[in-house]
Symmetry: C2
Subunit: 181 residues, 2 copies
């Protein structure tokens, strides 16, 4: 396996923003030659699979500047420094949707773009929901939407559900409906 | 829906690399206040769900510098300027695994990190495979591995299958095995 590894020779920070840090690294390849790697450092995030009493998936509609369009995504948000992912999942679900959960169960974690970024999303399933008040961040504008599985596939086809974590969440949901894991 | 939209006031390129371009934008929020957005521009990518004659999923083992570890991912690669995603899928599958496909069917496309990046992954299913020669890029070091569904879930649990597109692919595969879509 060591025959695939790269060694970082030099690392330079290009940009240090409020959300991401961008690095340009010089690496030694397994065959001894050198190359560069452009790397985006991100604090990581959580995302939450949460259902209403009618078995509808809870999503948030929001404008995504990098895509220049409005999307429907499962509730999610970035980790604060040192924050426990599970605590973050409880917090983000309530802030974005107003739903308070009793329990938060980890499903799976994944890196979103391993070719250039270290962002890791921790996906949870919320249980025991009660409806409270939305409290989004001051620069966050969101609307809550609730969909059946069939409707969710429709929104995927339309391109409104169009991000990796939500697409994965819909397939995970379908799996469970079908009796899978 | 327009009540959620942001307006870009100013856009500044911070870094223009060989893979990504980083922008710092000033935006007007729906309530009239201003904020900044850190945006990573990426050319987009393809990923391929491909199975051997024994119904095993074809994966590539590779070192991912941003994660500082070796991962198992479905064959994938970035789009060349102006390249058709389907053509790219045929090319990447063959370059990384040596398998040549007769047909390439679109499954779903998704943005990997809509909060800070515009990278879109086009996921295809390859059909009619024949084994040829691997021809990875000169700075790409990969090994091919073939897994059953049960083994794939095991590698997910171990954290070797740990990226969004491959995790989604495993659940999509399981869905099909269960008779879903």
């Amino acid at each position: 396996m060591s025959g695939l590894e790269e060694k970082t020779i030099r690392s330079r920070t290009i940009f240090d923003g409020k959300l991401i840090r961008v690095q340009l690294d010089e690496v030694e390849l397994p065959d001894g030659r050198t190359s560069t790697r452009e790397i985006v450092r991100h604090p990581g995030a959580v995302a939450v699979l949460a259902f209403t009493g009618e078995e509808k998936l809870i999503l948030v509609r929001q404008y995504r500047n990098p895509l220049e369009k409005t999307t429907l995504e499962i509730p999610a948000g970035k980790l604060e420094p040192g924050e426990d992912p599970k605590a973050c999942a409880f917090r983000e679900l309530e802030e974005e949707t107003g739903y308070r959960a009793e329990e938060m169960h980890p499903i799976v974690s994944f890196y979103t773009s391993p070719g250039f970024a270290d962002e890791k999303v921790h996906l949870f399933e919320a249980r025991g929901l009660t409806k409270g008040e939305m409290r989004p961040d001051t620069d966050e504008f969101v609307e809550v939407e609730e969909l059946t599985l069939e409707e969710a596939y429709g929104k995927m086809k339309e391109g409104l559900i169009c991000d990796a974590k939500t697409v994965a969440a819909v397939y995970i949901w379908h799996n469970r409906v079908l009796g899978g894991r």
